[in-house]
């Protein structure tokens, strides 16, 4: 019985620790700007210090921020799509074929996963300006692809290894063409893995900050995280905390929805990719 109570208390503590900052930033986004300027140290908006939806309205009316959302969605989706295609080919080869250089691929992707990203921004900044990729969508998509490939390759090859590939031959023996066997048997089995890799890749691209601030300079390609950090408002000496909070909440909604829907897949992807379970 003692054990039981301990688990319940543990669970409650975990919930508080994980969700408190989220609740806090939501609460902050409903405080009025006047209340923030004078200081309102409570967790919830004080009486008369609430702003209703005003902050959200203000953020949404901000041209720069709307562009940033569009950039983030576009860049992250394209990078995810391309990265998953390239990673699927590589992971298929790693999981199913015996070839020289397999170890090398795994070593390189491990090394890239640990690469200090900031080391690259200097030379990339210089190169991208020279070839005209600076402050453009492809200028961000290319580095995002390179840095999401390791995770995607790992996750996918772990998934592909579990697929009973013999079923494809069984289908062919039963009279299916090789294309039919591939589409009707292998694709449905591989789809969950590909999907999981796509979610994790999207998370990375959506979360990136270093490339976002150093390889862009205008709203042409600046993604949400960078845009939030440069968002100073009318008074540069007093950051508009409540506006920033509203912007942060808007930027977080898509990801939270994904987490809520695909919780199981994300857990499976992260755990199977790293350590065999």
């Amino acid at each position: 019985m003692k054990n039981r109570i301990g688990t319940v208390v543990g669970c409650l503590l975990i919930l508080v620790w994980c969700l408190l900052p989220v609740a806090w930033i939501i609460s902050l986004s409903f405080k009025s700007e006047a209340a923030i300027t004078t200081g309102s140290p409570g967790f919830f908006p004080a009486d008369g210090g609430g702003a209703g939806w005003d902050n959200y309205q203000a953020v949404w009316d901000n041209e720069q921020f709307r562009r940033a959302i569009l950039n983030s969605i576009g860049i992250s989706l394209i990078a995810t799509l391309l990265s998953v295609i390239v990673a699927t080919l590589a992971a298929y080869a790693i999981a199913r074929l015996e070839f020289r250089g397999k170890k090398l691929v795994l070593t390189i992707s491990l090394a890239i996963a640990m690469f200090p990203v900031v080391s690259l921004i200097g030379p990339l900044f210089d190169m991208w300006r020279a070839i005209g990729l600076y402050d453009t969508w492809p200028g961000l998509i290319i580095p995002y692809m390179s840095f999401t490939l390791p995770l995607a390759i790992w996750t996918l090859s772990a998934f592909f290894r579990e697929i009973p590939w013999e079923m494809e031959q069984a289908a062919q023996v039963d009279g299916a063409t090789s294309w039919q066997a591939f589409r009707k048997v292998i694709v449905p089995l591989a789809a969950p893995g590909v999907f999981t890799a796509a979610i994790l890749t999207f998370f990375f691209a959506w979360n990136d900050f270093v490339f976002g601030i150093s390889l862009t300079s205008t709203e042409n390609a600046r993604p949400i995280p960078a845009s939030l950090s440069f968002f100073v408002g009318a008074d540069p000496f007093n950051r508009p905390a409540s506006l920033l909070a509203a912007g942060a909440v808007i930027a977080t909604i898509p990801i939270i929805v994904i987490v809520l829907i695909f919780q199981r897949k994300i857990v499976a992807g992260l755990t199977s990719g790293a350590v065999k379970g």
Partner: protein
């Protein structure tokens, strides 16, 4: 897509372990495999190896974008400048501190989370989802949330904590500012750690724990003698990944203090020299030093803890 369906028909036999000289089929398999991984390799190298070589080249010049025509070869001068500057050593020290403290704390919290996720029977979905929530939050947003929470003007933490005054400014001195940054970093990255540990925990066989229980082992004994030794590989991989990630800490510092109060990490210093002050020569030297120090950290962890990466990759 048709390329992927070809080998299935042509190569029914996998794992052909015979060493009787490469057959035509083995050669074809090698060629196909190399073709399939080529795009991934090229992409990964184009954005890392090539710029890294360029950084090494640039680091030998006194080169600032503000005066591009005054580019001048200085050999190892930039490295000397960086390595003799106390600022470099101070930021390295702070970075190592971030790494050691956050990884140690996360290992403990992450293990508790993993235990709860593994054992809990009720509300499993809710708990797993909440543990994942910080993983989904953008680091910049996490930085803002904690910065405002620690703020003495608008934050709630001073009011909630009994041992600090209401007017205490967390970002006015090095130590509290570093603590605030660490809290944000720990909050954001613990889910990753606990998921890796959960995978390891799932590997420990229940029978073994049950047997220890029958033999009269206490809970502590079961934990230290059965559970932990059996998930050693998972713990080491989690530590390695998180340590290297923590060593590259950047986003939280940028958002929370912008490097003020000597909270700057080595990544932040490199960024500031390159992008904000346009010192490409010195910045590149710092880039190379950062790269080398990450290699050193990785090497030390792998050697000290004898991490078996092959086991982590389930590649035997």
């Amino acid at each position: 897509m048709s390329t992927t369906s070809v080998p299935a028909a042509a190569l029914p036999a996998q794992k052909s372990g015979q060493r009787s000289g490469p057959s035509d089929r083995a050669k074809a398999e090698t060629r196909l495999g190399q073709k399939l991984v080529a795009p991934a390799i090229v992409l990964m190298l184009v954005v890392t190896a090539f710029p890294m070589l360029r950084a090494i080249y640039l680091s030998t010049f006194d080169y600032a974008l503000t005066a591009p025509d005054d580019r001048e070869f200085v050999g190892l001068g930039n490295y000397l400048t960086a390595l003799t500057d106390p600022l470099f050593w101070q930021t390295t020290g702070v970075t190592v501190l971030y790494m050691v403290v956050t990884v140690a704390v996360e290992l403990v919290i992450g293990f508790i989370f993993a235990m709860v996720m593994h054992r809990v029977i009720f509300a499993r979905g809710v708990i797993r989802t909440s543990i994942l929530v910080p993983y989904g939050i953008i680091t910049v947003v996490s930085g803002f949330a904690w910065q405002f929470a620690f703020s003495f003007q608008n934050g709630f933490i001073n009011g909630w904590l009994p041992f600090v005054g209401d007017e205490f400014n967390w970002f006015g001195e090095t130590t509290p500012a570093v603590i605030a940054i660490m809290v944000s970093e720990i909050w954001k990255t613990t889910p990753f750690m606990s998921l890796l540990l959960l995978a390891g925990l799932a590997q420990v066989s229940e029978d073994m724990i049950e047997a220890a229980k029958v033999d009269g082992a206490t809970w502590t004994q079961r934990l230290t003698k059965v559970i932990l030794p059996n998930m050693r590989a998972a713990i080491m991989v989690a530590v390695l990944f998180r340590a290297l990630d923590a060593y590259r800490i950047f986003d939280n510092i940028f958002v929370m203090t912008a490097g003020a109060q000597r909270t700057e990490s080595i990544s932040f210093l490199t960024y500031r020299q390159t992008i904000e002050q346009f010192q490409l020569g010195l910045g590149s030297a710092l880039s190379v030093l950062l790269f080398l120090s990450v290699l050193l950290v990785a090497f030390l962890i792998v050697k000290l803890f004898r991490v078996d990466l092959a086991q982590a990759r389930q590649e035997s």
